[in-house]
Structure formats: structure tokens, C-alpha cells
């Protein structure tokens, strides 16, 4: 805090003596917060520990040592869950405050070691069988349970990515465009169905007041999956790409209404970008179909210049609009 600012305000009579004293007091007793440093250290520790354990199991899978490692993983896992069960706040259908900063991370540790453990059991003893993807389904179900039971959005995102993995979709926020397989019909339809499913889940979370704050996470994943599936369909089915453009427009409009209703600029932002990609693709394809010669560039480049400028103006306006809603 800049004390000069308050001095000036105080001198001009806009700040009472009492408040000015309080400000000076707060400034003098200011504490140096190590919160983010400690959190990062903790997070890194858990990241290192769980991935290290994963590699250990993988490397020692055929030696005697692996049982020791397994017992160790099981101990870490049960220890973490024991801690969480002991410390957890009473269950509620609403948001519950986590008892301390440590709790969230220990739960994460427990969930991650659980996944490693199950993966090992499946690999070595095939306990879940080879059919029906049970090996991916059971950890996923447990993760969903943990997310609801302990009220943890991070675990919920893990459960959702596991749900996608179970359906064969590799999904992580940063690599989604590289890893997403646009050329596989089954994956596209799986992505679309999971998108619808997650949307419904989010819808009912709010409607039934059953962990309503999970809605954003559900709808976020849902929106990305649905848009990606539509774009994928557009790229894959050459002959009917215009049909997919219509679907894309409908989807965009749907999320546009939702974004306005919930005053969420984030959704406006992603739908705009997805629609822009799809529309640009369709237009370029259309122009190239008419004339795949050099002349096409004279239409395409100005289109991108103009459309990007318009899009910037659109985003600025939407941001203002949503703020004043």
C-alpha cells in the first residue's frame, strides 16, 4: 500500500482519522505471506513423489523389489485417505470449506497414488479383466466419488479427464489440439456424447442444487469437447462440411445464450474462437473449391485481416456488454 495516497486523502478530508490510523497500522504490521511459495513447494513435492513412484513401479515390475514399492504406495494412499477422512468437514450438497490448505493436496496425493496402484494391479494381475474397460472405469468412478465426497474441483477435473481416457480421448488443457484425434470417427462421436453428458451433469448440478459450484468445470469440459467434435466432423467429412458449419453455428448460439445468462465472458471467448476457426476453414475451403489458383490468396488474406479486426471489436464490445448486464 502506498501510504502517500492515504495521506493525501486524509488531508483532503475524505478519509476519517480512524481509518487513516487503521491504514497506518495495517501497513506497519504487514505480514510477509509465504502462502504461494509453500503451496508451490507442496504441489511440486506431490508431483515429484507420484511420478517418481510411477517410474519406480514401471522399472521394477519384474523384480522382487516391486512388492516393497507397492506396499509403500498402498501405505501412502491409505495414509492420505485416512487423513482426509479424519479431517474432512461434514458432507454437504453445497460447497464446503476445506479444513486447511494441506487437506486439498493430501487428497490429491491419495487419488494419484490410488490410480498408480490400480494401474499396477491391472497390469500385473489383470484383476479387472480385459473387457469393457473396467480398468479405467473403476478408478474413474472412485475419483468421481472422491470429488463429490470431499468436495474437490481438482479431483473432479481428474475424474473427467479419466472419463475421457476411458472413452479413448486424450485430453489435457494444453495439448488438446495436438493430441485430439480429429480423424477418428469413434473418438469424435465419443467426444460429442461425453460433451452432452457433461453438460447434463452440470445442468443438474445447479438445478438439483447438488454441488452447484461444479457446474463451471462440467460445462467448461463439455463446451470444449462439443466444439472439438464439431470441428473434427467438419475436417473429417469433406462432403458435408457445410452441414457441420450449421451445427457449429447452432452450438455457438447455444453457448452464447448460456454465456449471456450466466454473465460469463469466458464462454463468449471460447465460442468466438472456435466459431472463427470453423467459419474460416469453411470459407477458405469454399474459395479454394471455386479457384485453387493464386487468385484465391487475394480473397483469403483480406478476409483474415478484416475478420480479425472485426473479431477484436466484437470481443471488446461483448466484454463491455457482459459487464453491464
Amino acid at each position: 500500500m502506498d501510504i502517500l495516497v492515504f495521506q493525501k486523502l486524509h488531508a483532503e478530508g475524505q478519509l476519517s482519522d480512524e481509518s487513516f490510523e487503521k491504514v497506518k497500522m495495517a501497513e506497519r504490521n504487514k505480514l510477509f505471506s509465504l502462502h504461494w511459495e509453500l503451496r508451490t513447494v507442496l504441489y511440486l513435492g506431490i508431483l515429484l513423489l507420484t511420478s517418481g513412484l510411477g517410474i519406480l513401479v514401471y522399472k521394477n515390475i519384474n523384480t522382487i523389489g516391486h512388492q516393497v514399492i507397492l506396499i509403500f504406495i498402498a501405505l501412502v494412499c491409505t495414509g492420505s485417505f485416512f487423513y482426509c477422512f479424519k479431517k474432512k468437514p461434514p458432507y454437504s450438497n453445497n460447497r464446503t470449506a476445506s479444513p486447511n490448505a494441506f487437506f486439498d493436496y493430501i487428497l490429491l496425493l491419495g487419488c494419484l497414488t490410488m490410480i498408480t496402484f490400480m494401474g499396477y494391479l491391472q497390469f500385473q494381475y489383470n484383476i479387472f479383466g480385459t473387457k469393457n474397460g473396467l480398468a479405467a472405469f473403476i478408478p474413474m468412478a472412485l475419483l468421481f466419488f472422491a470429488a463429490y465426497y470431499f468436495d474437490h474441483i481438482g479431483v473432479l477435473t481428474m475424474a473427467i479427464t479419466n472419463l475421457c481416457a476411458w472413452a479413448g480421448i486424450a485430453l489435457s488443457p494444453l495439448t488438446v489440439l495436438q493430441d485430439f484425434d480429429f480423424n477418428n470417427e469413434t473418438i469424435l462421436s465419443a467426444a460429442a456424447s461425453i460433451g452432452v453428458l457433461l453438460y447434463t451433469a452440470g445442468y443438474f448440478s445447479v438445478k438439483q442444487k447438488f454441488k452447484a459450484h461444479f457446474q463451471f468445470t462440467y460445462h467448461n469440459f463439455s463446451a470444449h469437447l462439443l466444439f472439438l467434435a464439431t470441428l473434427g466432423g467438419m475436417f473429417l467429412y469433406d462432403a458435408i462440411y457445410l452441414l457441420f458449419l450449421v451445427i457449429l453455428a447452432a452450438l455457438s448460439y447455444f453457448f452464447y445464450r448460456k454465456a449471456l445468462k450466466e454473465k460469463s465472458f469466458y464462454f463468449v471467448f471460447i465460442l468466438t474462437l472456435y466459431f472463427y476457426i470453423g467459419f474460416g476453414y469453411a470459407l477458405v475451403k469454399l474459395i479454394l473449391d471455386i479457384d485453387d489458383d493464386f487468385g484465391a490468396a487475394f480473397f483469403i488474406l483480406p478476409y483474415f485481416i478484416g475478420s480479425a479486426v472485426l473479431l477484436i471489436l466484437f470481443l471488446i464490445r461483448m466484454n463491455k456488454k457482459i459487464r453491464t448486464l
Binding site: 475524505q14 509465504l34 508431483l47 474441483i153 472413452a167 453428458l197 485481416i305 477484436i312 471488446i316
Partner: protein
């Protein structure tokens, strides 16, 4: 020098102070409302998403415009490409000044994109005019001048970091000409200059005149702390001198004064952390913590005491333990330190961001089913029992 309205810049800081005071409940809500009106500011600074979006879109506009111009001059492109880069750089700069001064954009994404386009095209123009035949020292000098200008004019943090790195690079490549003596003393010269810039930046950052550049100066400090460490780090010194000065070291062989660099490698980050805690200096502390990773990496690279995975497990356990015990110890603030968050206003946002980080870093942990989709009918319907 700075392109932005200085009074508004001051008002931005004042607003932040007032907001903080309200959060700490030092001032009342009415006082907050009145005080807020005292410090008006009409900058256009949108939220982070728009900034990214506008950055991407402005880049699309710039590259398409450039493509369009080259398309028009396609027949003589080889002759005019350098001029084209210059012209384009000027145009981008004019647009940048327009957006900043008339439209009052301040960190909006548009200004960022135009700044990088303008600087990048200028350098490309000169490099092409010189037939891509420039010494490293002169390229560094060019980069240094341009980024320094942008830093001073637009107070951009990333440009500030580039400016100081480029000046170190100028020193490095110029001093290299001094011959043998340069090769042996290079680490110390770089360390010395880093230290000088660091302390200068620290000193300047408390002066009133430099108040609009506070963030740039913080970035400069952090960058210089890293380069100071890198210049003395055993791995950097050994591999760099081996590669650049043809020492022809074999595996297991060490450099002259190797022990000295080992001391630097380990002592410097510890020193940063200790000093950072003593002085309650966030920059020192965070850089120090970050460099712990560099210590581990350097030692592990030359002495395989433990396998990587054992190291990870052991390191993970100790980090969790350290974080846990320090958090516990500080649950009641001690010696001016606390483990509690300084404000909780953005808790919801943070939770959502945090969950994305978790999804990103841990999404590979799921058991990947091999060739799951035989029929493709399952489609996720099995999960409906959970909701």
C-alpha cells in the same frame, strides 16, 4: 519518455492501494467509493482472456497484412523484402502509438502484439539488409537498443528482460575477443555485470521517478539473479566452455577451478533464500527456490548418487514434509511471516485455475485403455450412474 498518461498510471497504483485497504477492512466502503472517484483512469485494460485473444487476432491481422503486401510485390520480392520489413515495422509502430495514445490501450493484447511485430520486423529488416551476415555482438547490440527503447516507452516487462539479457550478450561476445584471458575470466565478468545491474535496478526501483517502471525493474532483478547464478553454475560453465572454447573435455574430466564453481552452484541459491527471508524480499526468495531445482539437476548430471526415480520420490517426500512443517509452524504468524493467503478475493477464480493446472499435469496418469473402442457404442453412457 513513457507513452502512457502518467497521472493515470499513478491512479492505477493508487486504486490498487485503496482496494487493498478495503480488503483489510482498514477503510469503510463509503470511503472506498469516494476515494475511488478521486483517482480516475480511462485505460483500456481488459481481462486476461481478452488480452490473449486480442494478441492472437492482432498477430493474424499483422501476418496477413504482411502476406498481402508481399503478394502484391511478388515479382520483385527479393529486392524489396528488406524495405518491406522496415515499412511494416514503421506501420506497426504507428499503429501502436495510435492505440496507446488515442485509444488508451494499456496491456490490452493489441499493444503487446504490435510491439513485438514492430520490433521483430525492424530486426528482420536490418538482418536481411546485411545479407544475414552479422556478428553475434552486433545483433545483440541491435536487440538491446530496440528492447531498451520499448521498455522505456511502454514499460513492458518482457522487453525489459530482453534488454538486460541482450546487454549481457553484447558484453559476452565483445569480451570474447580478448582471447585466452577472456575465456578464463568470462564467468566472473558476467557475474560482476549481473550483480551491478541487479543492485542498480534495486536502487532505482525505490526512487520516485522510476515508479512507473517498478514491474520492469523487478523482472530485471529476477533475470539478473538467474544470470548471476548461471554464470557460476558448474554445468553451464563446463558445458559452455567445453563447447565454445574447444577444451575437449572427456566425461569425468573437470574444468580448471572446478571446485570454485561447485561452491557457487550450491551456495548461491541458498544465499538467495536466506537473504530473501532476512530482507523479506520476494524476488530473491522465489528465484532462490527456483534455483534449488538447478542445484539438484547439476549434481545429478555429474554424480549419479541416486537414480532419477529414487531422487524424485525422496525429493517429493522431503518437499511435502518441508511444506507441511513450515505451514504448521507458521499457522500462527511468527517473525512477520505467515502462511495464510494475503487476500481471498479471487479464491473462486484461483480454484478453477488450479483445477486446470491439475488436469494439465496429472492428466497422463489415467490408465490408458488399449484399443478401447471396438464398437463405439459405450460412448460414456456407463458413467451416468454417478450423477
Amino acid at each position: 519518455m513513457i507513452a502512457y498518461n502518467k497521472i493515470w498510471l499513478d491512479n492505477v497504483t493508487a486504486q490498487a492501494s485503496i482496494g487493498q485497504a478495503l480488503e483489510e477492512k482498514a477503510i469503510t466502503a463509503e470511503e472506498y467509493a469516494i476515494a475511488g472517484k478521486q483517482y480516475p483512469c480511462a485505460f483500456y485494460t481488459p481481462n486476461f482472456f481478452i488480452r490473449i485473444g486480442m494478441f492472437i487476432l492482432t498477430n493474424i491481422v499483422c501476418s496477413c497484412a504482411f502476406g498481402f503486401m508481399s503478394l502484391i510485390m511478388l515479382n520483385s520480392i527479393e529486392k524489396v523484402v528488406s524495405t518491406l520489413f522496415f515499412l511494416f515495422s514503421m506501420a506497426a509502430y504507428a499503429a501502436l502509438e495510435f492505440f496507446v495514445r488515442t485509444k488508451h490501450h494499456y496491456r490490452s493484447g493489441v499493444d503487446d502484439a504490435l510491439m513485438w511485430t514492430s520490433g521483430g520486423c525492424f530486426i528482420a529488416g536490418i538482418a536481411i539488409a546485411a545479407d544475414l551476415d552479422m556478428s553475434m555482438a552486433s545483433i545483440s547490440l541491435l536487440v538491446m537498443f530496440i528492447s531498451t527503447y520499448f521498455t522505456l516507452r511502454f514499460a513492458d516487462m518482457l522487453m525489459a528482460a530482453i534488454a538486460v539479457l541482450a546487454s549481457l550478450s553484447v558484453v559476452f561476445f565483445t569480451y570474447l575477443h580478448a582471447g585466452t584471458i577472456a575465456k578464463t575470466t568470462m564467468p566472473f565478468v558476467i557475474m560482476l555485470i549481473s550483480a551491478i545491474i541487479y543492485f542498480a535496478a534495486k536502487k532505482i526501483s525505490i526512487s520516485y521517478q522510476a515508479r512507473h517502471y517498478v514491474n520492469c525493474l523487478i523482472v530485471i532483478q529476477a533475470t539478473m539473479l538467474v544470470t548471476f547464478y548461471a554464470a557460476g553454475n558448474y554445468f553451464v560453465v563446463r558445458e559452455l566452455s567445453n563447447g565454445m572454447f574447444d577444451l575437449g573435455l572427456k566425461e569425468g574430466e573437470t574444468i580448471p577451478f572446478g571446485w570454485l564453481f561447485w561452491i557457487f552452484t550450491i551456495v548461491v541459491p541458498v544465499g538467495y533464500i536466506t537473504r530473501g527471508l532476512q530482507k523479506k524480499d520476494v524476488v530473491l526468495l522465489r528465484v532462490g527456490l527456483l534455483l534449488i531445482v538447478a542445484i539438484v539437476f547439476t549434481i545429478h548430471n555429474y554424480h549419479h548418487i541416486l537414480t532419477v526415480e529414487t531422487l524424485m520420490v525422496a525429493g517429493g517426500i522431503s518437499l511435502v514434509f518441508i511444506a507441511w512443517s513450515v505451514t504448521r509452524w507458521l499457522s500462527v504468524p511468527k517473525k512477520g511471516f505467515t502462511s495464510a493467503e494475503s487476500n481471498s478475493k479471487y479464491l473462486l477464480d484461483k480454484m478453477n485455475v488450479e483445477s486446470l493446472v491439475i488436469a494439465q499435469t496429472f492428466s497422463g496418469t489415467g490408465i490408458a485403455p488399449e484399443k478401447r473402442f471396438g464398437g463405439g457404442s459405450a460412448g460414456g453412457s456407463g458413467a451416468s450412474g454417478d450423477f
